[in-house]
Amino acid sequence: MVKYAMAVDLDRCQGCRACMESCKVENNTVQGNFWMYVFRFEEGTYPNTEMSFLPRPCQHCDNAPCVKVCPVGARYKREDGIVLTDTDRCIGCRYCEVACPYGVNYFNWVEPKKAQYPVVNWEDEDLATVTSGAVPPYRNPDLDELQGPEQRHTAGGGHAKGVMEKCTFCVHRVDKGLDPACVATCPTNALIFGDTEDPDTPISRYLAEKRTWDLLEDAGTEPRVHYVGGSPPTHARVEIERPKARA
């Protein structure tokens, strides 16, 4: 049985946030929602300061607290390890958001069509002067397909107001044998994705060779995202350069 996992090599990550950008483009998420989020930390006092980076997708926990609290079974874990949200079933109670210790759940507070890039009003006459009226086709049709053996509506973001959405490991790509968009985009190969049940996959070999740690190991969530290099964040690290949504 395939079991997917991700390795995040912090010694390779340069904090460019291309993964955040590719996630938004691939999944059509609502403005301000960052399913992949790269923390930029600053630590120490001048001149002995250090910057560090921490990419944080959904951890796709084997012991997922969000799945346990979902009252309607919208949040569920697939056999291959991916934790998903059935956006047709989600009632927007936000229990998962409270239960998750990683802060990976993003609620659609407004109608996504209105919230998506609201600075771009494609009917704006000013804008039409520079685009000749062209409207980019942002929506990926794969996101509207039913996914996996359960045939549930789980891929992509921006589906409806009042539902919770989060990283899907790009389930619509993974089911086609592709890597998640963040992994495919990372310019330093800091993100590695694949099947950990097969010992010959790149991620299995990587995890076997390297010393790894998990975020909030004490929480007992058993994440399927494993970190290599760097060190777990401490309170001595101050987050800097937050994107707009978290300012």
Binding site: C16, M20, E21, V130, S132, P243
Partner: protein
Amino acid sequence: MLPAATIEKYEGPISATDQYIDAVTLRIPPMEPLFESRGEIDIYMDLCERIGTLFGDGGYLSVVNNELKLTDTEFALPLDEKPTVRGIFDQWARAQGIEEGIEYFEDPSRGVFVKGPMKPTKVYGYAFDPPFGGALHRLYGESLLDVQRQMIDKGAEEAYYQDYTPFPTWRTPTMDGSPDDYEFYLISYHQIEHKQARTSFIPLLAELAPGARLDIHPEPAQRLGISDGDTVTVESHNAVTGETRSLQTTVALCEAIRPDTVAMPHHFGMWTHPQNKGQGASANEIYFTGKGYTANTADQSFHVKVKVTKGGGA
């Protein structure tokens, strides 16, 4: 016909030599041009066809033949038939001796066509007889010194000739002549999310890096009563003319910056697009050019001292 595509177009031939090996490549479009944009060559051909200068001797196609060195070869483009852009570069590739034509460059495992070792005479002037074809050369620095002497002879002020030196020489930076209350050095920098000012109107990028800010160390900030997120006025001073310029922006406290230095990203403020209004000011607004700041060597156009005060100014 417009607008022009950016990277999604054919472009070339592009030299890929490394001073030892002569090589050439083509930019193959990674995708179809976006929306209604098109490659320049398509645009030029349509334009020339419309105004009647595409075909025949002296027409656009004959110029393309000359530029790609196809004229009078079996690969020359016919002057009475409109080619495709891919077809033009296919003929050029065949003229280079590549049997499969443009397909060679479309194969990402190859991409670059290596012609062979460079001829010494192509690179080394000394390989000629007489060397450099008999032309007399002088060092760049000699020219600068010559210009400096001419300026002195003509009675120019030192501020104008001081930086025309044969070798880069240290002098006290012009900005250090500003009064002491202009206590900070201002530097501007490039954010990793943005390429240039024009990328700030892409909503997805602006979401990650949304606008201008002033990075300042917490110690001077505290002394000035400034907290993270405050609006401040940044005023620069021209040490030669006494002119001051100012802008308003918000503060981002930063432990890693030198306490005597403040910094601003340079992507914002110079908006040219309806969608990037309101992203804040550009650091370029308060730099100076001209006497003492712009120079042939040791240019100081981006060297200025500023003072920072809390609030939005007058």
